[in-house]
């Protein structure tokens, strides 16, 4: 008996350049950027001030008022993206799916950080009795899984994974695994946000954030002048579903199949062993039973620092040959959304399969020849492809790869 096939039947995206999956996709094709000076607090004393910030979003317009005092902004993003993904998939209380047959698997790399910063502040400036009764769960990394499960009555196998930027793809890989083990629907994806002064500073402490002040020159994936990334917030939630189940209930659409997934880890520095990104991609291709030649486009991790960009370019050269596949990095328009980045890339990749067009990598103008990279620049590029590859890396050595195919 073959394992069930896992398809994606619903998308919900909240990105700095678009609220809603289709809006995000349109913004990517139009090259609309969500990168601007961070407005949440006075950033004048900070070495970096540009962020991919979500504006014009008020959680209270989308969520019941009782959820507002108990949720960090990132959890509001997760809940709303989940609502949108379920609506897109046509799954509601009347969809006839057993509550144990619906799970929730999310990723966050920062938890409810803005919320927790305020509670730390209350504890130390006022005292323990001022700490919110919600702090015990509004902060922790499992909060989005729990809140989505409660809001939507989903009682199936659920989890929360952390792997910095790679964690979002790991969540989707685990959702696929869970569907293959017999759960009909898993709502999966990731979001992140840490744009309070402490969260912002912590991101700067990581040493990879661009300090450039021109929004069009700050995050330049694969450019010879790459100088770090711009932190973003937001992400995407996807409905991952057993293909048979989707057909049975007459799901409005199947965006594509998660045909392959793999995760690897880099060897310790100094061992002389090669990094793991290439192997993750090759394992995901093997898992999908596809050869590199069938991949129509790659959605790259696109770290935006020369050493990391060169390593990713090398992995792609080794797999596809020099200039062997169109490569793009939509996150140049949103900043890196950490756990939200991979799932948002998956949403974009599914639209690319649907519309047969790959969005361009914004802002980057000059890719070193040594990269041997066919980076889609300037205008979106039409492609004829039934399969795409999405890559992500996380700080300290995480690598994840997902292969998506048309259904």
């Amino acid at each position: 008996m073959s394992s069930p096939r896992a398809v994606i039947t619903g998308l919900g995206v909240l990105a700095p350049n678009g609220l809603g999956a289709e809006e995000y996709w349109k913004a990517l094709l139009a090259g609309e950027s969500g990168i601007a000076e961070l407005s949440r607090f006075d950033t004048s004393g900070y070495p970096a001030r540009l962020a991919g910030e979500i504006r014009d979003f008020d959680g209270a317009e989308h969520l019941p008022s009782r959820l507002m005092p108990q949720t960090d902004i990132s959890t509001r993003y997760a809940l709303v993206a989940a609502d949108w993904a379920l609506a897109d998939a046509g799954i509601d209380a009347g969809a006839g799916i057993d509550d144990y047959d619906m799970g929730v698997i999310t990723s966050t790399s920062q938890g409810g950080f803005d919320f927790t910063h305020r509670e730390f502040h209350k504890l130390w400036s006022q005292g323990p009795e001022y700490v919110s009764v919600y702090e015990s769960f509004a902060w922790f990394y499992a909060v989005n899984t729990g809140q989505i499960s409660i809001r939507n009555g989903m009682r199936g196998p659920s989890a929360a994974l952390v792997g910095e930027q790679a964690g979002g793809l790991d969540a989707i890989g685990h959702a696929r695994r869970t569907v293959r083990r017999g759960t009909r629907v898993v709502l999966s994806g990731g979001v992140d946000s840490a744009f309070d002064p402490w969260g912002w500073s912590a991101q700067l402490a990581g040493g990879r954030v661009s300090t450039a002040d021109d929004p069009e020159r700050a995050y330049l994936p694969f450019d010879g002048a790459a100088c770090g990334h711009v932190p973003g917030e937001g992400g995407a939630m996807l409905v991952v579903e057993d293909a048979e189940s989707a057909r049975e209930r007459g799901a409005p659409r199947m965006y594509g199949e998660i045909a392959g997934y793999a995760a690897t880890f880099d060897p310790a520095p100094g061992t002389g062993r090669p990094p793991g990104l290439r192997r993750a991609a090759e394992l995901a291709l093997a898992d999908a039973q596809l050869t590199p030649s069938s991949i129509g486009a790659v959605f790259a991790d696109a770290a935006g620092l020369p050493a990391f960009d060169a390593a990713e370019a090398q992995a792609l050269r080794e797999i596809f040959g020099p200039y062997g596949v169109p490569v793009t990095a939509p996150k140049a328009l949103t900043g890196r959304m950490y756990a939200g980045g991979g799932p948002a890339d998956i949403a974009a990749a599914l639209f690319a399969l649907r519309d047969r067009v790959v969005p361009a990598t914004a802002h980057t103008t000059s890719v070193p020849d040594s990269y041997g990279l066919d980076l889609v620049l300037g205008e979106p590029r039409p492609v004829r492809a039934d399969a795409v590859l999405v890559l992500a890396r996380g700080r300290h050595g995480f690598n994840a790869a997902v292969v998506l195919t048309t259904v």
């Binding site: 015990s136 769960f137 409660i150 009682r155 196998p157 952390v162 402490w198 060897p267 192997r279 300290h396």
Partner: protein, 422 residues
């Protein structure tokens, strides 16, 4: 043919002990290791008791550089990893690194380090804005704790799948369950799995104070953790870690490894009810138990011992008792059930793995650890909770369960690999 997964190495750091042998000694003598908080001045707090570990990083062999780089929870996880490796007798140098994975659980990850950093950069809470120049270079890793499993991967040279499973208080069960799945599906042959949490810090104490989840029995720290007792009034916060070497059964047999137990079944469900509250009926935990037994292909009557979540809150112990009755039927009244949290407290994401260690050791030694401090019966908790004294009996199959904020309900079945399916 389904690949079967076994535990061949164990490392534990729990209150009252500094290694697996001492840990088991604490459990079987029914000693309690909870005490008045010594890590900071707890006088402003409602609950001032914890299961603290007297951990000496230098004596554990950590270099000053490692001690600087690694958060306390990471140090615990690495110490347990080293113990588990030695215990397994497996020479990781001979393994293909591509086939080795890591699945680490933690609920609050670097909470203690976050708080230390907070105090520095906020001038002890006076400043809202932050001068980034005052931040530790490790601050990013405290915000985004992928570094924890990464350190384990470096320790063992793993280049396969590596992840941090952060499902709150079921993380320790779920991370091991994740590792089992990696081996079963063929993504890895060997996995370092387990969990660590070091939450004994003011912010975490304040979190649980705020919802009165921890006990205020501050005058009786040694007997404050009272799972299933009629006078229980909250859990005792603790720190700890446990790590396991998981291997595919045939590979373990081929190298003549000592096999503690097979992990035959694992399942998790969510209650979709409340972030911190539990319904009385135990429905979702019962479903997880049924699913785990189903995966293990074992009848419920084969369970020799139930290692309970038994946190000692009013609602948990009642909820869990209902779940056992619902899932195990009549057998719930026949099988011994105990909570080691009565002795080592509740180390949030870590405790699930510590309880797996206790379950594996129960199989190894044919001893059921007791529920300490259980003196006053509660009419709502009417099973055999093995009060006060450990019990020698045949233990081939153990059910261990966890329940956590966010609604997670997880169950795992461990058994002697010679126990055959129904």
């Amino acid at each position: 043919m389904t690949r079967r997964v076994v535990i061949t190495g164990i490392g534990v750091r729990a209150p009252g002990s500094s290694g697996t042998k001492e840990f088991w000694d604490v459990l079987t003598t029914g000693r309690t290791a909870t005490r008045r908080i010594t890590f900071f001045d707890a006088s402003p707090f409602r609950s001032r008791i914890a299961g603290e570990i007297d951990f000496d990083a230098a004596a554990e062999g950590f270099t000053p550089r490692e001690t600087r780089r690694m958060d306390r929870a990471t140090q615990f996880a690495v110490a347990c990893t080293r113990d588990a490796l030695a215990d397994s007798g497996l020479d990781f140098g001979t393994l293909d690194p591509h086939r080795v994975g890591v699945a680490l659980g933690s609920a609050v990850a670097a909470a203690t380090s976050l708080e230390n950093e907070y105090l520095v950069m906020s001038d002890a809470g006076r400043e809202w804005l932050v001068d980034p120049a005052h931040l530790s270079p490790y601050m990013f890793d405290y915000l985004s704790p992928g570094v924890m499993p990464a350190e384990i991967a470096r320790e063992v040279g793993a280049e396969g799948p590596v992840t941090l499973v952060s499902d709150g208080c079921t993380s320790g069960l779920d991370a091991v369950g994740y590792g089992v799945q990696l081996i079963r599906e063929g993504s890895a042959d060997t996995v370092l799995a387990g969990a660590a949490d070091t939450p004994v810090s003011p912010i975490v104490v304040a979190c649980f104070d705020a919802i009165k989840a921890t006990t205020p029995r501050n005058d009786e720290p040694e007997t404050a953790s009272r799972p299933f007792d009629g006078t229980r009034n909250g859990f005792v916060l603790a720190e700890g870690a446990a790590m396991f070497v998981l291997e595919e059964l045939e590979a373990a047999r081929a190298r003549g490894a000592y096999i503690y137990a097979e992990i035959g079944g694992y399942a998790t469900r969510s209650n979709a009810y409340h972030m911190t509250g539990l319904k009385k009926d135990g429905r979702e935990m019962a479903e997880a138990i049924r699913a785990a037994l189903d995966e293990a292909r074992l009848d419920r009557t084969t369970i020799d011992y139930v290692n309970a979540h038994g946190s000692g809150t009013k609602q948990n112990d009642r909820h869990e008792t209902a779940a056992f009755k619902r899932s195990l039927g009549e057998h719930a009244r026949a099988v011994p059930v105990s909570s080691i949290k009565s002795m080592v407290g509740h180390s949030l994401g870590a405790i699930g793995s510590i309880e797996i260690a206790a379950s594996a050791l129960a199989i190894r030694h044919n001893v059921v650890p007791p529920t300490a401090n259980l003196r006053v019966p509660d009419p709502e908790c009417d099973l055999d909770y093995v009060p006060l004294t450990a019990r020698e009996q045949r233990v081939d199959t153990v059910l261990t369960v966890g329940s956590g904020f966010g609604g997670f309900q997880s169950a795992m079945v461990l058994h002697d690999p010679e126990v055959t399916s129904v």
